[in-house]
């Protein structure tokens, strides 16, 4: 009885998964089998995993498993052949027999189906008509005509089936009819069937012969036809058509059906949007980008991402920090977490105080609008402004504008260019070509190597950006600098940059680092640097075009600003060229802060210096001059124009940029005109500064030396009229900036919380977990522990396996011995009987 129970309990075990096993066993526990590990003490938080167990069940399970695996292996140890049963689900106990049969049937069907349709390439599914394959019907179309015995065949087969599958009644009837007709002797069932078979075979043969005949005939006919065809072809196209129609041909419906099968399914497409909607979307996009830009300008982004750090209640809040980690107190404002927005707040408060808040924000938010406004005005201008307007609205359309290049150039150039692998390659491709051709080449290289076309194209185009930059540098340093080409190439650079921002920024950084490094070396050896060539200036300009200059911090723009600052502070102005370069750098600098209105001391210093070297009668006020300029020295009167005639003939114009690059010897008059132009540009820049820095709290402190110099200029009346006016207006504007000095205030800091001696709370760790070490150490310990346990388990298993095997071997031996004993006994028995019999016989004889 004890044995019967466990077996019953065991049965569901193999089917249930491991987790359910215990519960299944527990559901029907045999109190004699349950072993309870008694706990001496109740310990809070300890998980007792082995408090209750069923050792008997577990042992039985283990033994069964061994018999199924180990024992089998042991028994098969000397066998080389293996019998594999490939029946579906034969050993899978999870499937019920019905399911198993279903699956097997399905598999069989599938196999059958596959074999049939192996040559059927067109369709995966067979179309059927009344259960018959349409393809079959078509195939037999012509045969059906020739085969008239289809029905007979059908009946025959019916007869056959009946004969085979016990359609007895029917068969009987027929046979009885036949009997009646023939009046012959009754045939046995076997004979009948044989007869049937013979008949059908004969029929089959006949049909085959007939078909072959027909085939032969048609072939013959075809051949004859071919012979005549040459004669007929020209004369009677109509008849030919008729002939063609006679050919077996799928009818229109079938054709249609097939065509529809191949046709792509139409999908609903996006609605084509009207112009206004497109414009609105574009505007929305720009507005979104602008908002992002503003956010970056205020430098809030990283702060908002930063996680607020927790501060303990014990923190003394005395500002003492261990490792320069400037954490802030967590504070709430309007229900929102208030995490460091110092800059922003300061800015908004300050601008608000001057009542310029709206103006500024309007100017900034209205920026995209101003660009769209740009359109009509440009349109009213020349014809070639047209493409520009398009770009103003959609950057994607930019490429198209270059397609206005002459068709002639287009025709000459090959259409496919490999992406250059080195700078020399690009140079050799581009050199010697006209501007349009160069542009076209670059454009085609881009198109041929679009990243969507092949895998490696992305890298190639990324490299192309670097090469183009280098090429631009080369163009800028050549004499005379090819600025027109650069002007156009900038667009290509922009496009490439949009495609690959990462690589573009890194190559731009590389170029900047190069320029800076050169300058640094010069400063180290000579103590000062000369203004770099035009290429560096152009690179700096390109930075401003490719990247947003208003960001609070930008990986490319911020270093570029440092570079500009170095140019203005470290390079002394030694010639008129330097003045032009310096003014260009000032322009770049001011453009960079055009949106953010950030303060640039270097520009003010430089412009002050320029004003100073243009001042005629210097009074002693050298202390305000800043580094690259000296109060006295040979360059302190560089921009002074003494020739009254030149002053009279001067006309205001913009400075040519290429003037900054190459050394050339202008005439004295030209030089004087350039001097005056420089002065004019300087004044215009000063006015610009006045406008954008007017709101700065210490504007007057900044401009005080400028004002002094300007008044000094004004008193001297040697300047041309136009310049005089400029002086006057600049000065007036500076003086008109009204300023209120309101005292500074620190933000109110949170009141310091009282010192609380709350107990130090240590995280309660789970019992049994190794504690007091780093995460990696813990993980390592855990793994070591696990390994140890597994190892022990494996050893135990192996030991048990050995025991099991030994037991099996022993039982085998015992069995064998028992068998032998039995045999011996049997032999003895038989011998004993023999002996007995023999003795009995002997006794009998003896008796006799």
């Amino acid at each position: 009885m004890g044995k019967a129970r466990p077996r019953a309990a065991r049965r569901p075990a193999p089917r249930a998964p491991a987790g359910a096993r215990g519960s299944a066993a527990r559901a029907n526990p045999n109190p004699f089998e349950v072993k309870v590990n008694r706990q001496k003490f109740q310990i809070l938080g300890r998980k007792a995993r082995h408090d209750v167990g069923l050792p008997g069940v577990a042992r039985a399970r283990a033994i069964r498993k061994r018999t199924q695996t180990l024992l089998k292996e042991y028994k098969d140890r000397d066998k080389s052949n293996v019998f594999t049963d490939k029946r579906f689900g034969e050993y899978n106990s999870n499937i019920s027999p019905e399911e198993k049969m279903m699956k097997r049937f399905a598999l069989e069907q599938q196999r059958h189906h596959e074999k049939k349709s192996i040559y059927n390439l067109n369709e995966d599914e067979e179309l059927t008509h009344y259960g018959q394959s349409l393809a079959d019907i078509e195939k037999h179309n012509d045969i059906v005509d020739s085969d008239s015995d289809a029905e007979e065949q059908g009946t025959l087969s019916a007869e056959l089936t009946a004969a085979h599958f016990g359609g007895r009644g029917l068969l009987h009837k027929k046979t009885s009819q036949q009997e009646g007709e023939e009046g012959g002797k009754p045939k046995s069932r076997k004979e009948l069937i044989e007869e049937l078979i013979a008949k059908s075979k004969q029929e089959k043969r006949e049909r085959q012969a007939q078909r072959e005949d027909a085939l032969e005939l048609t072939e013959k006919l075809d051949q004859d036809w071919k012979e005549i065809q040459t004669l007929l072809s020209h004369k009677t196209p109509k008849s030919e058509k008729r002939e063609k129609k006679e050919n077996p041909k799928p009818d229109a419906y079938d054709k249609m059906v097939r065509e529809l099968g191949f046709e792509m399914k139409a999908r609903p497409s996006n609605r084509r949007k009207p112009e206004e909607e497109l414009a609105k979307e574009e505007q929305g996009r720009l507005r979104k980008l602008e908002a992002e830009r503003l956010q970056r300008m205020l430098g809030k982004e990283d702060e908002s991402v930063k996680k607020p750090k927790h501060m303990s209640a014990d923190d003394l809040n005395d500002g003492f920090v261990l490792d320069k980690d400037d954490r802030r107190l967590l504070s709430y404002k309007d229900g929102k977490m208030n995490v460091e927005e110092g800059v922003h707040k300061e800015l908004s408060r300050e601008t608000g105080s001057h009542g310029n808040n709206e103006e500024e924000s309007e100017e900034e938010s209205g920026h995209p609008d101003s660009h769209s406004d740009l359109g009509p005005s440009a349109e009213s201008g020349e014809e070639d402004e047209q493409p520009q307007r398009e770009q103003g609205q959609t950057p994607g359309k930019r490429l198209r504008s270059d397609q206005h290049t002459p068709e002639a150039a287009r025709a000459e150039l090959p259409y496919i260019f490999a992406a250059p692998e080195s700078y020399e390659e690009l140079r050799s491709v581009l050199s010697g070509r006209s501007m349009e051709e160069q542009l076209l080449v670059v454009e085609r290289i881009q198109k041929c190597n679009h990243p969507s076309l092949a895998v490696g194209n992305k890298e190639k185009l990324e490299k192309l950006f670097g090469f183009l930059l280098e090429y631009v540098g080369d163009l800028a340093t050549s004499d005379p600098p090819d600025l027109k080409v650069i002007d156009k190439l900038v667009v290509q650079l922009y496009n490439l940059c949009q495609m690959f921002p990462e690589s573009a920024s890194s190559s731009m950084q590389f170029v900047l680092r190069d320029a800076m490094h050169e300058m640094e070396e010069m400063i180290e050896t000579k103590g000062r640097a000369a203004f770099p060539g035009l290429d560096v200036l152009i690179y700096l300009k390109i930075v401003g075009l490719l990247f947003p200059t208003s960001d609070f911090r930008h990986p490319v723009v911020t270093p570029a600003l440092m570079c500009l600052s170095q140019l203005l502070t470290k390079c002394p102005v030694l010639s008129l060229q330097d003045v032009v370069k310096g003014l260009f750098v000032c322009c770049l600098f001011l453009e960079c802060v055009a949106l953010s209105h950030r303060f640039i001391p270097e520009v003010i210093n430089f412009l002050l210096g320029i004003l100073y070297i243009a001042t005629p009668n210097k009074q002693s006020q050298g202390s305000t001059l800043v580094h690259p300029f000296r109060a006295l020295g040979k360059n302190s009167e560089l921009l002074l124009v003494s020739d009254a005639e030149d002053v009279a003939t001067w006309q205001r114009g913009s400075l040519p940029l290429h003037w900054a690059s190459g050394p050339r010897a202008p005439t004295a008059a030209e030089a004087n005109h350039t001097r005056l132009s420089c002065l004019a540009v300087c004044l215009a820049l000063l006015r610009h500064c006045t406008v954008i820095y007017g709101t700065l709290p210490s504007f007057h402190a900044v401009t005080r030396p400028l004002q002094a110099l300007l008044t000094q200029h004004l008193t001297d009346r040697s300047h041309p009229h136009e310049l005089q006016e400029l002086f006057q207006s600049t000065l007036a504007e500076m003086e008109n900036q009204k300023q209120l000095y309101r005292p500074l205030l620190c933000e109110k800091s949170k009141p310091v919380p009282l010192k609380l001696f709350t107990p130090r709370l240590v995280k309660v760790l789970e019992f049994g977990r190794k504690q007091g070490s780093s995460k990696e150490e813990q993980e390592r310990k855990r793994l070591i522990h696990k390994h140890k346990r597994e190892f022990k388990g494996a050893v135990r298993e192996i030991r048990k396996d050995n025991q099991f095997l030994a037991r099996m071997q022993l039982s085998e031996i015992m069995e064998r011995d028992a068998e032998r004993k039995r045999r011996v006994k049997q032999l003895f028995n038989s011998l004993a009987t023999q002996e007995g019999e023999w003795k009995a016989l002997k006794r009998k004889k003896f008796k006799k």
Partner: protein, 526 residues
């Protein structure tokens, strides 16, 4: 001489050595051959440097041996003719005569110290110093009393005089000489001889302007700098001239005496009108290698105050020395901070000694007992100047200003003035030279508020510190002092920005940008 005359031109290089060697040998062996000394001395006058070197070596051997044997006359040297004519013993005559030869040899060696070839100079110096050592061990003077300290002062004066040549740059030789200065007695006598030599040279042609020349000053300065006294009172027992025992009553064994001589030396040097470059050099070493060793550091006040009035970098350096005097030696200098205040002008952010200046300024202003008006004036002035500074300087000066405010809570009104009235203009007067009159305390640091809108993000952040209440611990500016623009640039490059890199969304139209951009307004491509 005869031997040389017989030699061929080719053999000359090798021959003199042998010939001189033979002569020296002859003189040393028998007194009868003493006249051969003239041949050796004649070789010293030669043009050929090889020959001179040989002759110097020969002299060194010869007189070295004679000194050791005591074959030179000891005592006050009578004139040669008198002795020769007199009727003293032949031995005495010989000794006097030989002593005269020795003297002429030493004089010649002294002249050789300014020889154009360095090898000759070096050899001459070595020989002279060897003579000094031997003469010290076997003095040529009669000791006046028992334990009288004797040192060949005359000979040593020749050496120092040669080193302080007004015509030749002796820096290399001086670096050779430096190793002798390790010895306490040599150092002591060098200091004495140097002050004499300086006085002598400057008195030579006082009427000529530009005398003494720059080389002399440089030589003198190099020598003076090379002298370094031990800081602690210890046994001065490393003597170049070997003595059997060192007596406590000798001046040379006391550091106090050394200091006195040191002080005399420097004062005699500094009382002259030095070239400007030398001023800087002196002031650079003033605080750590001169002032601590002087017996009475306050004697430097004249020099320092005069240097302070020169202006520029020199003033600053002088301030450093003055500060030490004020700080450690209780000197009263009422105008000190006023002078420092006067030094603050826009150029301090661009000059080479920026780091030093701010290091010193930090030191000077580190006292928390300074009056608030003074600190406020400094803070205000610095922030005014910051309006013209490049970013690398701003990154340093902004924490500097904040540190000032931290040290002096009374100055915090500069950034936090709760119930202050609104003003029409800044009460601070930038032209005022007296920090007390500048009204800085009534002002606020609006300049820092301006710099919060600086284009460089780090500067902007540094200036924004004043928005919050200042934290208590000061920010160390030491690592920021040497910050260069290139380093700032590199830091900017390394800083990881947001991914992906933000791009300009307004498409580029050309190099100069749109029509309303500044560049397009003022520049054309052709």
């Amino acid at each position: 001489m005869e031997a040389e005359a017989g030699g061929t031109e080719r053999g000359r290089a090798r021959d003199p050595r042998r010939a001189l060697g033979r002569l020296v040998q002859a003189v040393l062996c028998s007194r009868g051959e003493a006249n051969a000394v003239f041949d050796v001395l004649a070789a010293l006058q030669s043009e050929d440097q090889e020959e001179i070197q040989e002759a110097v070596r020969a002299c060194s051997r010869l007189f070295g041996a004679l000194l050791e044997r005591g074959e030179l006359f000891v005592g006050q040297l009578p004139s040669e003719d008198m002795v020769m004519a007199g009727s003293q013993g032949a031995m005495r005559k010989y000794k006097v005569w030989m002593r005269h030869r020795y003297c002429s040899c030493c004089n010649r060696l002294g002249e050789l110290l300014v020889h154009p070839t360095f090898q000759v100079k070096e050899l001459a110096l070595g020989t002279l110093m060897k003579f000094v050592q031997l003469e010290g061990a076997h003095p040529l003077e009669q000791p006046k009393w028992e334990g009288h300290y004797l040192f060949p002062r005359t000979l040593f004066r020749v050496v120092v005089g040669g080193l302080l040549s007004p015509t030749d740059d002796q820096s290399l030789l001086l670096s050779q000489f430096r190793e002798y200065l390790e010895f306490d007695d040599v150092r002591y006598h060098t200091m004495q001889a140097a002050s004499d030599a300086v006085a002598q040279v400057t008195n030579q042609q006082p009427e000529v302007s530009g005398w003494p020349p720059l080389t002399f000053w440089n030589n003198a300065f190099t020598l003076l700098c090379a002298v370094s006294l031990p800081l602690q009172e210890q046994d001065l027992s490393t003597f170049y001239v070997k003595h059997v025992e060192l007596l406590d009553k000798w001046k040379v064994t006391h550091l106090r005496e050394h200091r006195k001589v040191f002080q005399t030396m420097w004062l005699s040097f500094l009382k002259h009108k030095l070239p400007l470059s030398l001023y800087k050099k002196v002031l650079l070493v003033m605080h750590d290698s001169i002032l601590p060793h002087l017996a009475q550091p306050t004697l430097m006040i004249d020099f320092l105050t005069s240097a302070c009035d020169v202006g520029g970098a020199i003033s600053l350096l002088a301030l450093n020395g003055l500060f030490i005097l004020i700080h450690k030696h209780n000197l009263e200098h009422p105008d000190f901070y006023r002078k420092l205040y006067g030094l603050l002008d826009p150029s301090i952010f661009h000059v080479k000694y920026r780091a030093r200046f701010f290091h010193l300024a930090d030191l000077f202003l580190s006292s928390s007992h300074l009056p608030a008006y003074l600190v406020a004036a400094f803070a205000k002035r610095l922030s005014r100047l910051a309006l013209t500074a490049p970013p690398e300087a701003l990154l340093m000066v902004l924490p500097f200003i904040c540190n000032l405010l931290r040290r002096h809570p009374a100055c915090r009104v500069l950034v936090h003035r709760p119930q202050g009235p609104e003003l029409d203009s800044d009460p601070y007067d930038p032209e005022e030279e007296d920090p007390a009159q500048s009204r800085a305390l009534e002002s606020c640091l609006w300049e820092l508020q301006t710099l919060q809108r600086h284009y460089h993000p780090e500067v902007s952040k540094a200036a924004s510190v004043i928005n919050q209440a200042l934290s208590v611990p000061e920010v160390s500016i030491a690592p920021l002092l040497e910050l260069t623009a290139y380093e700032v640039f590199e830091q900017d490059l390394k800083k990881k920005g947001p991914e992906p890199v933000p791009l300009e969304f307004i498409p580029a139209q050309g190099l100069l940008g749109r029509r309303d951009d500044l560049c397009a307004q003022f520049f054309t491509l052709s």
